[in-house]
């Protein structure tokens, strides 16, 4: 693990000459080159439809590049499917704008599902849930169902689920997109705290104000073309 909150020169993930052309001919990404270092807190910004989510999806293997190479933690993601892709995803956490919580499961169960799906035993699952919920400020909500929580709380559950297995890489796709300023601020504080604990964080966000307040490193995507706004350390 890298030093607290600081980037190293060890590469966590990289995109080399990555392009994505969809079946209808539209361009999602155009020859993108990006290196993410261990310990980075990287913001990916740009207008809606610019290609931010596509870039993130490439990193967790939900989209395949048309050309170029995507590498995460030493594994080429391009052609991964099935169990191999599942094993790579165990080394990362993903947070979504729409939270993606399972409606009929309690907060505790929503978080436990990650650990159980990865083969952790019951004792280990129990041991990990309470501190994770405490970390996102939801210690008293473990028995609640998602519908009983506010948007901000649901997003915090989503973060808890993404970090409970202690992944070295956290990908957050517009985690503040559906939240008011107060909740958005709280979410970014949690992500910052995680980064301080050594987690590499990649966040897509279109709110320039928030980015200015938190950013260490920012890249902008416009019509599939990526530009570095602040240089990597």
């Amino acid at each position: 693990m890298v030093g607290l909150g600081s980037s190293s020169h060890e590469v966590m993930a990289s995109l080399v000459d990555v392009s994505k052309i969809y079946a209808n001919g539209s361009c999602g990404l155009d020859r993108v080159n990006l290196t993410i270092y261990k310990g980075d807190f990287l913001f990916v910004t740009g207008a809606s439809g610019a290609g931010k989510s596509t870039l993130l999806k490439m990193l967790y293997g939900a989209e395949k590049p048309t050309t170029g190479t995507v590498e995460v933690q030493g594994t080429i993601v391009n052609s991964l499917t099935g169990a191999k892709l599942a094993h790579l995803r165990r080394r990362m956490g993903v947070v979504f704008q729409d939270y993606q919580l399972i409606p009929k499961r309690t907060v505790e169960e929503n978080i436990a599902v990650v650990l159980k799906a990865q083969g952790f035993d019951r004792a280990e699952v129990r041991k990990r849930i309470a501190p994770t919920l405490q970390m996102v400020g939801l210690a008293s909500k473990e028995k609640c169902f998602p519908e009983e929580l506010s948007g901000g709380e649901q997003q915090r559950v989503s973060i808890a689920r993404a970090i409970v297995h202690e992944p070295p890489l956290l990908l957050a796709d517009e985690p503040t997109g559906n939240l008011d300023v107060h909740n958005a601020w709280m979410i970014l504080q949690i992500l910052k705290k995680l980064n301080h604990l050594g987690v590499t964080v990649v966040v897509t966000c279109h709110n320039e104000q928030l980015i200015k307040t938190f950013a260490k490193r920012v890249v902008r995507v416009e019509a599939g073309i990526m530009r570095e706004l602040t240089p990597a350390l």
Binding site: Q100, K104, V114, K116
Partner: protein, 292 residues
């Protein structure tokens, strides 16, 4: 290794149970559909077996009477008849025995054969046949044997029984096929609905690093459990119906032998029910995994 196995089994079984518990009415839709179709399938098979048994019993009572030429003795022809295919039993009736029985039946006092110029009867053989469908053919075969004067059998009844049995066999096969196809279609659609309602869960599991096998197994176990429950209910209904039919049989058709519902039918239904549940789940979850 053992701990890993128990942890995995514990997780998969719990997931399957939670799925069943929270599946709500859709589980009941699947179970009731399976129950209804398995019940009809079981009923079809049971009725077919019952009629088959009854017809076989009637058929076995069919016999061919073989009348020999005056100087030929039954005992000489008996081994030949025994060696023919589909012959169950052969009974020789010497003309002396038949004559004596006839006189007794007619109430004749003393021996009247002298006044008739001797015993007018011939030796007879009674041949019991295994299947009604072969009676006519066998009778022809016997007729062509040397020493046989004539043969007599209930040709029309035998042929009718044979063709009825054949028609029933086809009807049972057609019914079983139609019900089988319907069951596969209905159960796959129902379980697909269950999977669709949990599509989000599948999507989340994929994103958090669950392997496709780990996602699929709880659904397959659920399908198995649904099949098991469906079979249980269908079996119960069949037993109730069976005892009702048995009561009516004793009232209206006491001459027919009872045909209880046997365990093999239960095993056929169990295999079909759980098999359909598992296949339906696999098909449904496979397409959901592909979609995500």
């Amino acid at each position: 290794m053992i701990r890993r196995f128990t942890t995995q089994s514990d997780y998969l079984l719990r997931e399957a149970l939670i799925g069943l518990w929270r599946g709500g009415w859709m589980n009941w839709a699947a179970i009731s559909t399976l129950t209804a179709l398995l019940f009809l399938l079981g009923l079809g098979l049971q009725v077919s077996t019952q009629l088959d048994g009854a017809l076989a019993k009637l058929g076995s009572q069919l016999e061919i009477s073989v009348y020999l030429q005056p100087k030929v003795r039954a005992i000489a022809l008996e081994p030949k008849l025994r060696s023919l295919p589909d012959v169950l039993q052969v009974q020789s009736i010497p003309k002396e025995v038949a004559w004596e029985a006839l006189q007794k039946e007619l109430g004749v006092q003393g021996d009247i054969s002298e006044s008739l110029g001797g015993n007018p009867l011939v030796d007879t053989l009674r041949v019991q046949v295994a299947r009604p469908t072969v009676v006519a053919h066998l009778a022809q075969q016997i007729q062509s044997l040397q020493g046989v004067e004539s043969v007599n059998y209930g040709s029309e009844a035998a042929e009718r029984l044979g063709s009825l049995q054949k028609a029933l066999g086809w009807a049972a096969l057609t019914l079983a096929s139609i019900l089988g196809i319907s069951t596969v279609a209905v159960i796959t659609t129902t379980i697909r609905l269950i999977v669709l309602s949990r599509r989000k869960e599948i999507e989340v599991l994929q994103l958090v690093g669950a392997t496709p096998l780990r996602i699929a197994i709880p659904f397959v176990l659920e399908g198995f459990a649904l099949g098991l429950l469906g079979t249980g209910f269908a079996w119960g209904l069949l037993l109730v119906t069976g005892s009702f039919v048995e009561q009516k049989r004793q009232e209206f058709l006491p001459f027919l032998a009872p045909e209880p519902i046997h365990l093999p039918l239960g095993l056929i239904l169990l295999g079909t029910g759980t098999g359909l549940g598992v296949i339906g789940s696999l098909l449904a979850v496979r397409s959901a995994l592909r979609e995500n």
